[in-house]
Symmetry: C2
Subunit: 556 residues, 2 copies
């Protein structure tokens, strides 16, 4: 049996476009036995509360009928993910469904049994869990179906059911799994390892088709694969790109496909993840260009370099907005950087505006603006200038705060936090440096100037200000933050490694840092989407109240 893995990039809600893409892939692979598309391919994953609109489901069904019709005169059958109605009077009104369409008719419908509802997943909000297994005898092969989370109970103890074991007990010949599995640190390896174990344990080949592309914060890496009954990878599709590949299942005669590599390092993963994240957000929101405030610091520098690599230099504008407190080096570094990137750099000094704000402040409020107020004024002037450029020229503003800064609240709301999306908001500060060095390695040259990589971090909002005035050194800060933000997701080795950093640096004032994190929740609630890289990013996958009083140390 010839099976085609169709790893495509869908836009949420673009029912016509997604259906056309599916129909196109069917036509191009008309002689295969089965063309497998990913989970909720027709709606794009994840449509969220669009599912609650009756007209949305009705429109989706019209496009599903088009897909079914497209199988009428070809050999290929289609395996497609979509939203199915729950005919029962009880339960949520919809299922997360997989359908098999062949010769213009529907042969099977399977309903996802395990609905992930944690981190960035919220499927119990919309779907009723399916009640049983899904199998189909098709052209002499007994196929068993899984949808994404259905394959994961061996990894997590969340569910009493094990759909994979249930399929194996039914003596299926092969398992077809359709997925929308997002990437984060180590995820591609984890996912593939898990399914290889399942294949081996149950002695069944597995066809695993993932969606690729980014929707808002979440990036789906693709890396679809086919592994044989011995858990050996026989084909793997590339990461971070659309791809289509055919495999053959037949005991003992599996045909090897190409095996694309997985990312070789954290830096490569983060880099590719962010590039696709930006590219898709810009495209799917209808933008074509971006603008970045260039301070000469490492954060805006990496943001500019990533944006250039994602969109091309012509679609990126940098604006340097020097103040009295900006070092000459900073402006010069921005110029060097933009020359090397080939990015247009505009200079917009903020001195006159800053003076006007300060003088108006005294006039209206009868005293001089405090140091904190003055620092924020500068950040907000810069944020307003970036938005002016955006309003006038239609470029999307990229905000430039890294995860460490956003964690402790060292960012100005309505200032440097302004933007449509943040590329590096899920990179801790030390990771910003690591990915920056990766960018240089990849370019084979010092695209990012050594002067920027080596300078001491400073917001440059007050005279001689340095980040280290009020924060511990970044390696220490990052260790505290990882322990506070992602502790429950770490294994004991990972946690011990972070604790060792604290011990080696004799750092004990952990409670102060944690309190900064708690107190900055209100800022993060108003932050733009952040391209997700780690398992727990700020945003939708980490939901905390603003008005809350829990402080670990108080209740110890």
């Amino acid at each position: 049996m010839n099976i085609v893995l169709a790893q495509l990039n869908y836009t949420v809600g673009d029912l016509r476009g997604n259906a056309d893409k599916i129909i196109g892939a069917l036509a191009a692979n008309a002689d295969a036995d089965l063309v497998v598309f990913s989970e909720l391919a027709l709606t794009g994953y994840y449509p969220m509360d669009l599912i609650l609109r009756p007209d949305f489901i009705a429109a989706m069904e019209r496009h599903l009928a088009r897909i079914m019709a497209a199988t009428q005169h070809i050999r290929a059958a289609a395996v497609v993910g979509y939203v199915a109605r729950n005919a029962s009077q009880v339960g949520k009104p919809y299922f997360n469904a997989l359908g098999v369409f062949s010769a213009g008719a529907q042969l099977a419908e399977y309903h996802k049994q395990l609905l992930p509802t944690y981190n960035i997943f919220d499927e119990s909000r919309h779907f009723e869990p399916g009640a049983g297994t899904g199998t189909l005898d098709f052209r002499g092969v007994k196929l068993g179906f899984l949808i994404c989370e259905d394959g994961w109970p061996a990894y997590s103890p969340l569910y009493a059911k094990n759909p994979v074991a249930d399929l194996a007990a039914l003596a299926v010949d092969a398992i077809v799994s359709i997925n929308a599995s997002p990437a984060d640190t180590g995820k591609a390896e984890l996912r593939e390892g898990l399914f290889r174990q399942l294949a081996k344990r149950y002695q069944r080949p597995i066809i695993y088709v993932n969606q690729v592309g980014a929707n808002d914060s979440i990036v789906y890496d693709g890396h679809s694969f086919f592994c044989d009954r011995n858990g050996r990878i026989r084909a793997r599709l590339p990461g971070y790109a659309e791809a289509i590949a055919a495999v053959t299942i037949a005991p003992g005669t599996e045909q090897d496909g190409k095996i694309a590599p997985l990312p070789a390092s954290f830096e490569e993963m983060a880099y590719r993840q962010i590039l696709l994240g930006l590219r898709d957000y810009v495209r799917k929101c209808g933008f074509s260009s971006v603008v970045v405030g260039s301070s000469g610091g490492i954060d805006s520098t990496l943001t500019l370099a990533l944006a250039r690599d994602a969109l091309g230099a012509d679609n990126v504008t940098a604006i340097t907005m020097p103040s009295t407190y900006s070092s000459a080096g900073s402006v010069l570094d921005s110029q060097t950087l933009c020359e090397r990137l080939g990015v247009h750099l505009i200079t917009h000094p903020i001195g006159a505006l800053f003076n006007q704000y300060r003088s108006d402040f005294g006039g209206a409020f009868g005293e001089e603006a405090s140091r904190l107020t003055q620092e924020n004024i500068q950040a907000r002037i810069r944020g307003a200038i970036l938005m002016e450029f955006s309003n006038q020229f239609g470029a999307l503003v990229l905000s430039t705060g890294n995860k460490s800064e956003l964690a402790v609240g060292y960012a100005t709301l309505y200032g440097d936090m302004n933007g449509g999306i943040n590329l590096i908001g899920d990179l801790y500060k030390m990771e910003v440096y690591a990915v920056s060095r990766y960018v240089n390695r990849l370019a084979g040259s010092e695209i990012i100037p050594a002067a920027i990589l080596d300078k001491e971090p400073s917001a440059e909002l007050s005279p001689n200000q340095k980040d280290s005035d009020s924060l511990p050194p970044y390696p220490v800060l990052d260790a505290v933050l990882k322990l506070y933000i992602e502790h429950d997701l770490m294994d004991s080795d990972q946690a011990d490694a972070q604790r060792r950093i604290l011990a080696d640096n004799e750092f004990t004032d952990i409670a102060k840092i944690c309190r900064l994190v708690d107190n900055a929740e209100f800022k993060r609630k108003q932050a733009p989407p952040i391209v997700r890289v780690h398992q727990r990013a700020f945003g939708f996958g980490r939901q905390l109240p603003i008005a809350q009083r829990y402080r670990e140390k108080d209740d110890a």
Copy 2:
């Protein structure tokens, strides 16, 4: 049996404070048989991902032990909501639990069976559903327990189980329901009506204890009650305030308690909801005062009046920030308003800053700022000035966009959308007028000047600008928006009423308005919390992707 309904205002995560409050109420009612506290009273509802922190649960358990110890030497037993560990190796690690504590020991633990996961509720994210009923024979009375959603299957078809019917089948004498039931339009009546029906159908008295107070966007109204087996309300606690009341259950001898009224109108409900929402947000976040930009328009006017009523005039500052385009009437109206409210008004003209931005813009970008850009510059100057005041004097900024404006995106991100919380963001424009008139009726005078109530809405960002230049009249706009945003929550009468408004006004360009709503999603994602009034408010309870292409009309 004497049962005390303890309707208290908890702060999320304030384990020590919440436990102290519970222990205090126990001591004050030591001779009762049972003191009933609300759902998740110990953690406050809803703790969200605090539940995922192992140290949080451990700390909570220490405070639960304190509550248990407090029952040691008194007659009263306590019914308390908290997070319980799931001892099974399978499923989510916690239950949403109810415990009965008496004489220093735990007599019973019940686990919530139905976990709401829709709108603002996300309990499946954290909890495993309980497997069975909870009853307790206590001092000769067989009590049956419910936690909030457990009582609602008669209302919604979401669940296959019916815990109320299950309790009735076990011949309990009375049902004790602990709740965290938020208020929205018509909710208090709906809730009470539902439980009265249950009492009557199953011939069981029901003790219903709700939490009161606001946590972030969500307001819990209290209105706890006791209804007898005939569905008659025998006691009702006041809305929007802490209260404690004792009732007696004994067949035929129920003792009547006081019956506090429910809100008499939408306007009263919205008013009380918003006052408590603001008061609690300010207090629980550690603020004491607020600042509002006063434009002389109805939105900032109502915001100022509500803030004054919630916090007192001394804790409210207004800033008027006139530009070239501000009408003389607007400044004068702000002055009249603030005089009547007793609120301090500061004047901070923005002309010099506006000119500086425009001239810098030309210098840096080589052309004149467009009309849209100039409008946004003014809004952002004003937003920055409010934040200056906040930074310098520690006052929380209130943003002032109404639901109609936020829906269609007629608000400037990082400008008039700035703020820590928005009081009127869940009021459609016509409701802003209605609540404003209610404020005047309540005050018995024209606290809100007629000149403001009667003037034609304008953003005053361009010469002679009026909202009606680009939007349909507000009654029509509101009808379109209600149909688009809350259609699936309306009954057919409600939907028909809105459709009639459109028909009467011969308004057909609905698709254009819907597209505006879709396109403004990115702004709302960065908006501050909005005090929730309607069933579906913008924010956590309405989750839509930003990058999405579904447009109803395209797929019709």
